[in-house]
Amino acid sequence: MKRLLTAALSAALIASTAQAQQLNFDDPAEFARQRELLTARANGPDGEPWVQYYGDQMADTAKFKKEGPYTICFSNAGVNNAWRVTGWTNMQAEVKLHPEIKELIHVDAEGSDDKQISDIDDLINGGKCNALIVSPNTTAALTPAVEKACAKLPVIVFDRGVNTKCPVTFIHPVGGYGFGIQAGEFVAANAPTGANVLMLRIVPGVDVLETRASAAKHIFKEKGLNVIGEEFTEGDNAKTKSIVEDYLQRGKIDAVWMDAGATAVAALEAFEDSGLPLPVITGEDQQDFLMKWKAEGFKAIAPTYPTYQWRTPIIAAVKVLKGEPVPGPEWVMPQPSITAETLDEYVNDKMPPLHHAMCGCEKLPDYPAAWGGQ
């Protein structure tokens, strides 16, 4: 009896996860919508994408109006990778531009759902926060905590989302499909027809990464490219280099598609060390990749998941507390790619190798020292 129950339970679990996966990561409507946004014109001042937005739906914030100075609280999923390090530095610098902010209280969940849930609880109960910014660790787990916070104070969510419409706004760039489309189309346009493409991914099962891969696969299928493998590197340089070397021993690779750029240079070095010409490659906006690109001049594109989105929640929070409308319930911002034409604007040998160039931070206080630059 017990065994039967266990079996039934696990079958149900498997079925539900399978369904969840089907639902999330390959949505043709969302794919089409993001493809359109990539070429759409955003509202707001040119050259300042962190305050730009698509569409014209605004959230009314009159009820949150309050006298300053403000205490803004931020529950952060973690500062556990270079992207988040750059982003968090952006946010701290943005705060310095707003004299009406008395204090930014930052709590770091260190990549744990449980910790973030209790962090949010503590922040609400502490009674000091005028507004709460949340960058959720995972979507489903943090939804109830965010709902609870919404009942007490204005909440702004950014980066990863939550399954509730209660926050004043959810700030994010175009999205994973957009990233996959930009990278996929570049490969399709620059590699010979029927070219061999190696897809390198970090880990399976993360929504923003899964959508990047599913979008790229659509494009490759559309253009008749041959995907010779889809490998998970766990973001590890040594593992990436080993995987690519092994593929090179077995056959030809014309293009390398990556769902994130952290290990792009290691993938290129595998070609160099095997004495082969560099492939068409998609990376991201880390300086090490941009420097290599500039030096070697291979065919590449760097789609971005821009870190300037870390500035926007502060700007939004101040507006909300002043009772000014902000784009909502979603604030979708541009997600530019770095191309051979724009490479020179972003490459900078004074910045550290893992710095994300699409930071919108060049005019912020303490640049470049706070970002580790010289």
Binding site: V79, N80, N81, A82, R84, V85, T86, P204, G229, E231, F232, G235, D236, N237, A238, T240, K241, S242, I243, E245, D246, Q249, R250, A262, T263, V265, A266, E269, D273, S274, D288, P352, P353, L354, H355, W371, G372
Partner: protein, 333 residues
């Protein structure tokens, strides 16, 4: 019991009366895996194939050769993974894009490794903290230190002078065309550690304290000093592995993650006894090559990732079972 271990380390592989010479089964497992790799990818017998493999395996092999010192003495060293990370991140910070600084940065990293090893050894020997906990604490501390130092985004690239050891192949060697510097480092480091473990009094004392610390102490083995030496050897091997890994793949903030467990696994595959008293340097290196061969084989076969994980787990268990079987037959040591 300890007498038997000691005598067998004096003359490893030498025929004993009434028994055929025993070859550690790890070498058969390794050979079988290499044959399988060759069958799935004939290019593997070309120099590029096997040399790439050896180059890639060198850091783990060095790490396992150091870890076996601590395991034989009856402990664990979990801090090696984080020490690798600290070596790579620290070197990139100290070098600060200056290729001429390599000559003093590498000794500086070894000095840091020496300090870490001594602290590990002191905490385990004198404060009587179990090595599992002491080195776990060290692992967390070093990870934190690496992060604090670099704020999660290391400042410099690793210049070619530093990457020489892990990346460069020396060309123009007859017969084999080229030889990776990493392999030379492995050969040099490996033979040093082999000599120290199997040809000196230190090796005998390590085996003795791992087998029965009380008995060893009574017969005059300086327990503390030998333990500290074991941790120092392990830490220095981690710094070496870090230099090779940084050279192979460049800067990243999580290079060392998981290496401590891989090193311990390699030692166990090589027939080491986890509670001490038994283990050999060449077998641990073979264990590391076996682990790397498993990864490489599964890469070549091109199975989907979940299947690969299952196969990898099964091969690991089989290898360890083989090692244990041999140990039991060898007389319950």
């Amino acid at each position: 019991m300890s007498q038997q271990t000691v005598s067998s380390t004096e003359a490893p592989g030498a025929p004993r009366s009434g028994r055929l010479p025993k070859i550690n089964p790890v070498f058969f497992v390794l050979a079988a895996l290499l044959v399988a790799i060759t069958l799935s990818n004939p290019n593997f017998v070309e120099p590029t194939g096997y040399m790439n493999f050896l180059k890639r395996a060198a850091p783990l092999a060095i790490l396992a050769a150091g870890q076996i010192y601590v395991i034989v003495s009856g402990g664990f060293d979990l801090s090696v993974g984080s020490l690798i990370t600290l070596t790579v991140v620290g070197s990139s910070m100290l070098l600060n894009n200056n290729a001429d600084a390599t000559w003093w940065v590498i000794p500086a990293m070894y000095a840091a490794g020496l300090a870490v090893g001594i602290v590990n050894g002191l905490v385990v020997s004198f404060l009587r903290v179990p090595s599992l906990i002491a080195t776990l604490g060290m692992m967390i501390t070093l990870n934190g230190a690496a992060f604090m130092w670099s704020s999660g985004s290391p400042r410099g690239y690793l210049p070619e002078t530093f990457r020489f050891f892990g990346r460069v192949n020396i060309q123009g060697i007859p017969l084999i065309q080229f030889i990776p510097v990493a392999l030379l480092v492995l050969l040099a480091f490996g033979s040093c550690l082999f000599w120290l473990m199997h040809r000196t009094n230190l090796g005998r004392m390590l085996h003795a304290i791992g087998d029965n610390p009380r008995a060893a102490q009574m017969s005059g083995v300086p327990l503390e000093r030998v333990r500290i030496t074991a941790f120092v050897v392990s830490s220095l091997s981690a710094v070496t592995a870090g230099i090779l890994l940084g050279g192979f793949a460049g800067v990243s903030t999580d290079v060392g993650v998981g290496y401590e467990l891989q090193a311990i696994t390699a030692c166990v595959i090589g027939g080491a006894q986890l509670l001490g008293g038994r283990g050999s340097v060449p077998a641990s290196i073979a264990g590391a090559l076996t682990l790397t061969a498993i990864f490489t084989l599964l890469n070549f076969i091109g199975l989907p990732k979940p299947v690969r994980d299952v196969v990898q787990g099964v091969i690991l268990i089989v290898a360890v079972v083989l090692a244990t079987y041999r140990r039991n037959r060898a007389g319950g040591t």
